[in-house]
Structure formats: C-alpha cells, structure tokens
Symmetry: C2
Subunit: 154 residues, 2 copies
DNA sequence: CGATATAAGACTAAAAATATCTCATATATC
DNA sequence: GATATATGAGATATTTTTAGTCTTATATCG
C-alpha cells in the first residue's frame, strides 16, 4: 500500500525536469545529484519514462534527458503508472479474474471505488501546478533561480 | 500500492464472522475453509485482529473466534489497519521526517490528500452494510442460508 | 579516433510477504 | 484429574519483490 522507491524517484526526476521547462536538456548526473537518486537507478527509471513518451533521452557526450510535453500536460498519475504499472489497491481491482468471487463481492466494489478516487486525485495534479507553489527539488537549483525573493535577471 | 494478502484475508475473516453476527463463535477451521485462507496463516491474522479489539479468541476444545463489536461498528479501515498497520501511500505520508523536504514539497501534499480520501472511503464501509447486498464468502454457507431465492426455514 | 555520456539488460543483495512448524496453553468431556 | 481437541505465539523456511549495481554496447561531440 505504498509507492515504490522507483515511483518516487520518477516523480522527482520529472519534477526536476519540469523546473527547466519542456525541451530543456538536463544531464542524468545533475538530476541524480539534485534529487538524491542513485545515478544507475535513475537510468533505468528514465528508460521507463521514455517508453511512456514523457521524456526523451539524448545519448552521447553532453547527453541527458528532456521533457517531451509541457509540465502542465504531465500528471502525477501518468508518471507513476509509467513506472509501477497500473495502480490497483487490491489484486482483484486490476485483475478481477484473480478472485472468482469478484462479480458478487461488495468489498470488491469498495476497492474499485477507492481506486477510482485515488487515480482521479493523482490525475488532477500536473507538474506545472505543482511547481507553482514550491518544488520537490532537494537542493537549491541555480538555473531555475529567481525565486529567492528578488528578481535579478535584467 | 496494493493490499497485502494478510489484509485481504483479515477482511474475509471478519466478513465471515459478520455473517454469523456479533458474539457468535466460529471455529478457525471453518473460517479458513470457507474463506480459502491457510489455517495457520489465519491464526496469525486473528491474533492481530484480537489485539485490535475486533475479535475475541476462545481457546480449547470447540474454540474459535467471535466478533466483539456489531458488524455495523466495524469498518474496512479498522480491519486493514489492524493488520497492515497505518495506511500510507508514500513513506513521507506516514513519516514526514523520512524526507527532509516534506515541509516544502507540493507532491507531499497531494499524497496526503489522496491518503485522507482513501482512508475516508474505507471508513465509510462497515460490514453490516457490506453484508446487506451480498457477501465475500467464497463458498455457500448453510448457517447463514436463506438467501438462495426461497426462504425455507419455518 | 578518443573521450564522454547514456542504453540495456544481467546480476546481486536486501527486504518483505507468505506460509508453515513447533511447543505451549486453554477448555471440554469423560 | 486425564485425555483429546483447538488455538496461542513466536520461530523458521520459502518465495517474491524491491533496490541497487555492474558490464558491455552504442551514440555523440570535438
Ligand atoms: S473476496 Fe472480494 S475483495 Fe477479496 S479478492 Fe475476492 S473480490 Fe476482491
Ligand atoms: S520529495 Fe516530496 S513526495 Fe517525495 S518523499 Fe519527499 S516529501 Fe514525499
């Protein structure tokens, strides 16, 4: 009944990328350091995000990751499900056939309802909105600065 | 992000007991067979339910388990949390100190909200209501019969 | 080409879930 | 009270999942 570490890391990764905006290239190393995720682990997670069409991976020297969509178009739900697969609070939610009683089971219906609610809540949260208030970035991020009270640029 | 087997089994156990009503003694073996739970595993789960004050265990010959409260007073949430501990969708929900960023983190707030909703939904579901419509019992249960279309008793 | 950075998947280690076993304890019945 | 029966409680074993690392291959820059 908890998010896996990979899922949490995936969110941090997208959140960090979102601070740089759509299309900006950020190296794996920078993301790993800033979000406190083991670099090799991040690589695996990034692959899943890429397969889901959320980020693009650029190989080679000076490579890195970039967001393919605008932060406002990316929801928490999309990121989580890209990494841990479909959310289902109980086995019988995702695979009703796993319990032959599911067609009759009233508990099953409660789980279905709870699952729908959970997904809805996670879908409401997009990364543009999340970034507005503050961020999940674990250490201050110079590139994105300017939110330290005074606007210095220009 | 899923209910453990133990949690699911605990729910089945309470649901079966609920069909017999508050205070009725049902043997561990019967519950195990009817709900398709390994008997020894059920024993461990029952201990947790007993510690939580949901059931009472009677030892000795012709022993078994009985509900301490009325089914209408027992919620899904209570049973689940008795067995798998407090529900928390992400580590930082249950233990905010596990991530030093939680006071600032907007994602954290989404998790908190989702967690509250989930708990609320599970708390709304009590076993009296759940039993009204149909049941989770995996095999027909003679003692509780009478819902097979015709009323035969008397 | 050579240096750098990621790809992709194999591999390992650790943790958690699931189930079982053993010995102890309580109760009914004789 | 003795015996049979049924559960208590914790230890143990097995399996599955999670978390993290490592190795070899590939892409890009200069
Ligand atoms: S008994 Fe009901 S809640 Fe439990 S697994 Fe089967 S369908 Fe789902
Ligand atoms: S970064 Fe935010 S969501 Fe992630 S663990 Fe920390 S507080 Fe929770």
């Amino acid at each position: 009944m908890r998010l896996t570490r990979a899922g949490e890391y995936g969110i941090r990764c997208v959140q960090h990328l979102a601070r740089h905006g759509k299309g900006a290239l950020v190296s794996r190393k920078e993301i790993a350091v800033r979000t406190d995720v083991p670099p090799h682990f991040l690589a695996k997670i990034a692959q899943q995000l890429a397969r889901a069409g959320i980020i693009e991976i650029q190989q080679g020297a000076n490579g890195g990751y970039r967001l393919l969509r605008d932060p406002s178009e990316i929801t928490l739900l999309a990121v989580i499900e890209a990494i841990i697969g479909g959310i289902s609070l109980n086995d019988c939610v995702g695979r009703p056939e796993s319990c032959h009683n599911s067609p009759l089971c009233t508990v099953h219906r409660v789980w279905n309802k709870a699952n729908r609610q959970l997904r809805a809540t996670l879908q409401e949260a997009d990364f543009a909105t999340l970034a507005k208030e503050d961020s999940c970035c674990l250490t201050p991020c110079p590139e994105t600065a300017g939110h330290n009270g005074s606007i210095e640029k220009k």
